[in-house]
């Protein structure tokens, strides 16, 4: 079926008026992509995004969203919701063209109920503005992803996102009391009501993480916590990853809930000790950092300025934030040439890391919340760490992490400009499988790229592992091949040892091919949900590993 662009424009304008519909090439290019690193290879080459959508619409009310969905459905045109565009899995790519709905004009924080500890917020509100507004009223949602400046509440919910303080406050799906969703048929549904008092499946949990494939989340009732009265952040060091994970497991299983638990493996610890996140000075990456929170308000800092252009091999070392005075040998190793031989570099870095950072693995442990209980929990947490042989490094590493915790994403651009690439893979498993997961995935990625990891987002039954990898190839095709090989091998390794392929970045296009091995026969339920909520298969087609429709629409 071909799309008649004039008719599409007429129908969309009938809903939102002419000013909030665009078919301009600049807009279609912009909305054809998110921050998926694989898309950046083409962008770096100056190639236009492909595929592109047919139109971008900026609805302002749930009614307009429903009307746009109905209009697009009438024309058989796909519908793709768009939030902050910070996704890293290609979840917004209009693989079969269609109408992109940018929800960022739907930003109302409609009710903040102190008695219920619940707020009603629209999906397009930016995370930073949301938390700032809640902080002003004495509450927190407790969701602080490193993308908080460039992601939206609706995007978090659609991807089951996690914030850095998830160990206390939960992942976003743990904090939802109800959703308002426009389904694939253009109907508006609310999923509110205490699940335990209602019969039938928990629709909130069936729509969270649907990445626009079942419907568009236009607003949500989210659980709040009182703003923390006390924050205690400290650094620790343990001898090994195994000792660190064991300590974290014991802490969580005793019923203690620190807000932040981060354990860096030897390489990540080493890089960090050079200034990448918790060191006392950082002359290389300083200007690229997000600023620290404003001390007076406890709120978030304002947006960081754009990073300066950067070129050359130094960019890789710069991502790793290696200061001028630091380890010249290592810096040389981290040049483009060395990245072509990742196994060697992994080995070299491992050896240097061991020698230089003989102290072991760095941990950041943060507790926050109500004053009395937090103090008592902190004492119990520190006692467990001491029992595990952890050395207390004092408050400085904790403070430094807090101050720079949104910085890392902003350091990725220079790496890409230099011709290399950097990406992250977040997997998770139960404690019994966790070290297996760590070694298997690290080995799988390490065949192709320089890889480091940290453990964060801990639960009583398991933990997630966040791998950062840096790779390089000669050209775009080579980069794409290498990139695909890293993901294929990494995710296969994760599945093989019983881990999940994604803890909080979502699936999008990137992990779609792995969804069948993730869910096996249970995928039938997802397929059933898809047909029940989106019978015409028009909602963000091709994502979550769901089969895309046969689409022959003309490209604009």
């Amino acid at each position: 079926m071909a799309i008649d662009p004039d008719r599409l424009r007429r129908e969309l304008e009938a809903v939102v008026g002419p000013r909030r519909v665009s078919m301009r090439a600049a807009d279609l290019d912009t909305y054809a992509q998110d921050m998926w690193p694989r898309l950046l290879f083409a962008r770096r080459d100056g190639a236009p995004p492909s595929p592109r959508g047919h139109a971008v619409v900026w609805p302002e009310t749930v009614r307009e969203v429903a009307a746009v969905v109905k209009a697009a459905r009438g024309l058989g045109v796909p519908i793709i919701p768009y939030g902050g565009g910070s996704g890293v899995c290609g979840g917004v790519v209009p693989v079969h063209g269609g109408v992109t709905l940018d929800l960022k004009r739907m930003t109302a924080l409609r009710a903040v109920r102190a008695d219920e500890l619940i707020c009603d917020v629209e999906g397009g509100l930016s995370g930073e503005r949301f938390e700032r507004e809640l902080a002003r009223r004495g509450f927190t949602f407790g969701h602080f992803p490193s993308s908080i400046y460039c992601s939206t509440v609706g995007g978090w919910l659609a991807t089951r996102a996690a914030g850095q303080l998830s160990t206390k406050y939960g992942k976003v799906e743990d904090r939802v009391a109800g959703l308002t969703v426009v389904t694939g048929t253009g109907e508006v549904i609310d999923t509110d009501g205490p699940a335990r008092a209602l019969g039938g499946p928990n629709w909130t949990q069936l729509l969270l993480g649907s990445e626009g494939t079942l419907g568009i989340i236009t607003s949500a009732r989210l659980r709040l916590s009182p703003a923390p009265q006390l924050k205690l952040y400290r650094g620790f060091e343990v001898d090994s990853v195994a000792a660190g994970t064991e300590a974290i497991r014991r802490i969580l299983q005793r019923g203690l809930r620190p807000a932040v638990v981060r354990l860096y493996d030897e390489l990540d610890t080493f890089v960090n000790s050079l200034g990448g996140g918790h060191a006392e000075h950082d002359d290389a990456a300083g200007p690229h950092r997000a600023p620290a929170p404003e001390p007076g308000t406890g709120a978030l800092p304002h947006l960081p300025s754009a990073p300066r252009p950067d070129t050359g091999d130094g960019a890789v070392a710069r991502f790793l934030a290696l200061g001028k005075r630091k380890v010249a040998g290592l810096r040389r190793e981290l040049t483009s040439a060395a990245l072509a031989r990742p196994r060697l570099v992994n080995g070299v870095i491992g050896a240097i890391a061991e020698k230089v950072a003989r102290k072991g693995c760095r941990m950041v442990i943060g507790l926050e919340g109500a004053r009395i209980r937090t103090e008592i929990e902190a004492a119990l947490v520190y006692a467990e760490l001491e029992r595990a042989g952890a050395r207390d490094m004092g408050e400085e590493p904790g403070r430094a992490w807090l101050a720079h915790r949104y910085a890392v994403s902003y350091r990725m651009s220079p790496v890409f400009r230099s011709g290399a690439f950097v990406d992250t893979m977040e997997v998770a498993a139960s404690w019994a499988q966790l070290l297996d997961l760590y070694h298997s995935v690290r080995e799988a990625i390490g065949r192709h790229a320089v890889v480091m990891a940290h453990f964060s987002h801990a639960y009583p039954d398991g933990c997630s592992i966040y791998f950062t990898f840096i790779g390089q190839a000669d050209d775009r095709a080579g980069s794409e091949r290498l990139y695909d090989a890293i993901w294929r091998d990494g995710l296969e390794a994760a599945s093989r040892v019983g881990g999940t392929i994604s803890h909080h970045h979502g699936v999008g296009l990137l992990k779609g091919p792995h969804m069948r091995s993730e869910h096996r026969e249970a995928f039938a339920i997802l397929a059933g949900l898809k047909r029940a909520l989106d019978p015409d298969d028009l909602m963000n087609p091709g994502k979550l590993g769901l089969a895309a429709p046969r689409w022959t629409g003309a490209r604009p």
Binding site: A195, W203, I372, H457, A532
Partner: protein
Amino acid sequence: MTAVDAPSAGGGGPGVPDPHDAADRALLAALAAVIDDDHIVPLAARAWRVEPGAAGEVAEVVRLANEHRAALLPVGAGTRAPRLKGTGERARLHLALTRLDQVVHLDETSLLCHVQAGLTGSGLERVLTPRGLSLGDYPPSILGSTIGGLIAVRTPGKSSARHGFLEDAVVGVSAVLADGRTIHTRIAPRRATGPDLARALCGSEGTLGVITGAVLRVHQRPDSRLLAAFVLPSMDAALAAVYLALREEATPAGLRLLDAEDARSWYGDGVLAPGEALMVAATAGATDLAACDRDLIASAVAAEGGRAADVALAEQWWKRRHSSESWPGPPPTFQVTATPGRLRGAYHAVCGAARNAGGFPRGHISRFDADGAVVFVAFCDGDGAPLTGAAAERVRDAAIAAARAAGGWLPGARALALDPYLIALRAQLDPHGIMNPGALVA
């Protein structure tokens, strides 16, 4: 007489040919090839209780039911009567998983327990207790049910402040879909790989799949458990104290607010003055935390004008809660769930309506968690005996209307606006409508 010899036991009657006879005979013959005759028990006309002994046998039974278009009605430990209506012209197989009562695997590193669906909660506790573990602070009264039943059927009582709603303990499920396919959802502490598919089966009452097993989070037994009792000037003050303490992050293992009438029927006269409320609380965990939580509750009580009461009142509550000994006085016959902001209104609305309708209500509020709590009420006459007959009906109807008006959720409530999607999902997964037909939506 074996089941195969009596395909339509109780049906038809001598001399009346049963039009379904041949079909039923074929179904039973096929079932007998899968399951021992001893475990195919005639119940009524065209109804059999089928007791598979393994997950593979469940899959085979479901496949056969699908092939023969027989209705599958899951039964748990039998704490609820099996529903015999609503299956139309179909043969009915009451699927009992009581033989699937094993702990498959206990992962003491991750504190995960893989159990078969027919194991009861108390059966699981018997395995966990000697290892210093427990399913959690759930009211012992629910543990007589099977794990499969606890997960598949919602009741608001399966919740605690410390360990949340029981479904939050479900990390993964194994289930058989209508076409006989067995699914195992992947086990991970959290995921971002699309919707949580295990949650489709939780609360679905067997309409989307037969749950044959589950992986549950279990907890370490607490180092300490502390009990405390308090008297507050009113139920309103008691509720205010609870939420004051919860805001300070107290996480009690058990908490109950009794109004003066309820307290009198449990503890006799002299504990409370009219209008006062009694709070009994249990805190648990690491000793310092248990003490901290108890002290936070005590401070909140003091802030709301309350005072400490004899701890024996709490000990008695805890002992009765964990034994089969029944409470004095008639048990509550009415319950309504309300969110934190609506609890007070729901309690007063129900009790007020009952009084206006000529009843003498007595109530308590418990099962606090992030969603709110449950108000339990018994409707009595002037002598404290349970109301019966028309008087009971009248009071009950008034209470139901009042609870609804106050924004509470009554048992069996459902988000009706979502029914079309549930129907569509069922049509996808169970095109022949064999899975517990008549449940949830007709």
